[in-house]
């Protein structure tokens, strides 16, 4: 009981899978501490079976999400920015507890995150225009190349940018029609869980974004070797030995792999991530009279 006489209502940090908030099937949790060493919460410690379930949810959602119009996907991403704006204070508080620093710095990072959503939301219906092409061919044909989503993308989210880095990895993947299974920052997973709550109220169909918390080294190999995952983002793998193992596992079913050099997430992004999670489809069509 707190000083005000109320019973403390503490938040349970759960997973976000298939539009729901389950605990880990393993029943495990792990202690999350803040920058100053204080205990913040117990987060779910996901197992390989949670990875499996998340991939099933992502696969089930992928077709519907990819066939939604680009305009609609953009609107939904923009909606996520709106919802985040409403929880600005909560995010800033969680970030400050996790990363330390001043309230102002934390707020600046939340603002940058919301701006990142908006930036990528705007790209939804422009990616095909920029990455697609009408190719010149020597015959009476239209030859058109257009970007299509890669499919289900496994994202190992940046370890040291628990919110801005997370959104910078998720948004470019989903805006083009991919669905994602995200392994959140191991030491700072709480903002990711709250982001799940934002996405759940942003018109995203369940399964488009699935967020797991736990030990990266335990889950990542199962995500990397899963034959129903089409792409793998290794941004959050700091250990080069683990990264090599994951790349090798990913090669088994020819996953597209992104293993970027250290990134400054505060800088304006390039098209690299958008481009990575699309495949180019080229069609020939007879030119009419």
């Amino acid at each position: 009981m707190s000083e005000t006489g109320r019973i403390a209502v503490r938040k349970t940090y759960k997973l976000y899978v298939g539009g729901k908030f389950p605990r880990s099937e393993s029943g495990r949790s792990y202690l999350v501490t803040g920058a100053d060493g204080t205990v913040l919460a117990n987060a779910s410690r996901s197992s390989r079976k949670d990875v499996r379930d998340a991939v099933v949810a992502a696969r089930a959602a992928q077709k519907g999400w990819a066939t939604a119009t680009a305009y609609l996907r953009g609107q939904i991403l923009y909606r996520a920015a709106e919802m985040m704006e409403g929880r600005r204070a909560q995010f800033a508080e969680e970030l400050r507890a996790a990363e330390g620093g001043s309230r102002k710095q934390a707020e600046a990072r939340v603002d940058a995150t919301i701006d990142r959503w908006v930036w990528y939301a705007g790209w939804a219906d422009k990616v095909p225009q920029v990455l697609g092409n009408g190719n010149p061919v020597a015959g009476p044909y239209f030859n058109l190349s257009s970007p299509e989503p890669t499919g289900v993308v496994g994202v190992i989210a940046p370890q040291h940018a628990p919110l801005l880095g997370l959104v910078s990895a998720i948004a470019p993947a989903i805006v083009t029609g991919n669905t994602v299974v995200v392994i959140a920052s191991e030491k700072m997973p709480l903002p990711a869980v709250t982001l799940g709550e934002v996405l759940a109220t942003s018109d995203f169909p369940g399964g488009v974004v699935n967020i797991l918390t736990g030990h990266t080294g335990e889950m990542a190999p199962h995500l990397a070797s899963h034959a129903d995952v089409n792409g793998l983002d290794l941004t959050g793998v700091d250990d080069p030995e683990l990264a090599r193992t994951l790349e090798a596992a990913a090669a088994d079913n020819l996953k597209r792999v992104l293993r970027p050099a250290a990134e400054d997430f505060l800088a304006e992004p390039t098209l690299k991530r958008l481009r990575t999670w699309t495949e180019t489809k080229t069609v020939w069509h007879p030119a009419g009279v």
């Binding site: 499996r52 696969r59 070797s225 899963h226 034959a227 129903d228």
Partner: protein, 301 residues
């Protein structure tokens, strides 16, 4: 009272809560590693690979037959399924495709799925399927007559169909989703077995709920008790709604614990399913390769 109604009236009622709890507790067993590999292969051998759609074409049936014979073309150690299950009009196509493979050919008959047709039509339906090459007949009981209490009518119908089957095995579909209570499931099971059923089957797959674990457990109790009483062994086939390997494992545990290991054989226990087979194959691949497989690595039916 006739002998039949005395028998049915004498059956004890089912403790609904107890039955559901027992089924739920058996479903918590965990089957791993080599036992899992064994159970997956056994499950594949127990599948009646089914397509019962208005849109079935000869091409689709032929494809499915090929899949039943060799579910995993890249792996010769993968067993065939027990049977193919189709509508009577598709029996000639399936018979040609399955010839010499050892895979059984089951045909639904008797105005499947409703069973609402005159007896003569049902008999003709059955004879036509058998003549075209079906060696197993899946008939539906007249639920209307059963629910109205006209057990003799249902009994006589099964006896007549059994005769029309000749050498073909007869599976009697109780359509438990329409029977309402577990007591009725038990009654219908005994009625069908007394009338000569070789198999009792839960559902058509066209009515929800289809097969459930408690219903299957009650039917397994019935076949166990029936063998004790008469010496004749009857098989059980849950059908509809069994989609994952995990589901199949739960059923196998119940078979073993309730009826006994004698029933852990494709001759005595079957799964009526279509999508289950792909999940079994994906789990099989997982055990072979060590990593999770996906729907890209099995055929689209």
């Amino acid at each position: 009272m006739t002998e039949l109604s005395t028998l049915l009236a004498g059956l004890p009622g089912v403790d609904q809560v107890g039955a559901e709890q027992r089924a739920a507790s058996l479903a918590t067993r965990s089957i791993k590693t080599s036992a899992k590999a064994w159970a997956i292969d056994l499950s594949i051998r127990m599948v009646d690979l089914t397509t019962l759609e208005g849109a079935d074409t000869p091409g689709k049936v032929r494809t499915l037959c090929a899949k039943a014979i060799r579910p995993e073309p890249s792996d010769p150690t993968c067993p065939s399924t027990a049977a193919i299950c189709v509508y009577p009009s598709m029996v000639p196509v399936a018979a040609a495709a399955l010839k010499g493979s050892g895979v059984h050919l089951a045909s639904v008959a008797t105005a499947f799925p409703s069973g609402q047709a005159p007896l003569q039509v049902k008999l003709d339906d059955t004879r036509a399927a058998v003549e075209a090459g079906a060696d197993e007949i899946d008939m539906v009981i007249s639920r209307g007559a059963f629910l109205a209490g006209d057990y003799q009518h249902v009994f006589d119908e099964i006896v007549a169909i059994k005769e029309a089957c000749g050498k073909a095995h007869l599976k009697v579909i109780l359509e438990t989703g329409e029977l309402g209570t577990y007591d009725n499931v038990r009654k219908a099971s005994w009625l069908a077995m007394r009338a000569g059923a070789d198999f009792i089957k839960t559902s058509t797959g066209k009515v929800a709920p289809a097969a459930t674990l408690p219903v299957t457990m009650i039917m397994l109790e019935a076949v166990r008790d029936f063998r004790e009483l008469t010496g004749r062994q009857v098989g059980v086939k849950p059908a509809g709604g069994i989609k994952t390997t995990k589901d199949a494992m739960k059923y196998l545990v119940v078979v073993n614990e309730v009826a006994g290991p004698d029933w852990l054989d494709p001759d005595w226990f079957r799964f009526g399913a279509s999508s289950l087979l792909n999940d079994l194959l994906m789990q099989r691949q997982k055990l072979a390769t060590g990593h999770y497989s996906g729907p890209d690595y099995v055929t689209v039916d």
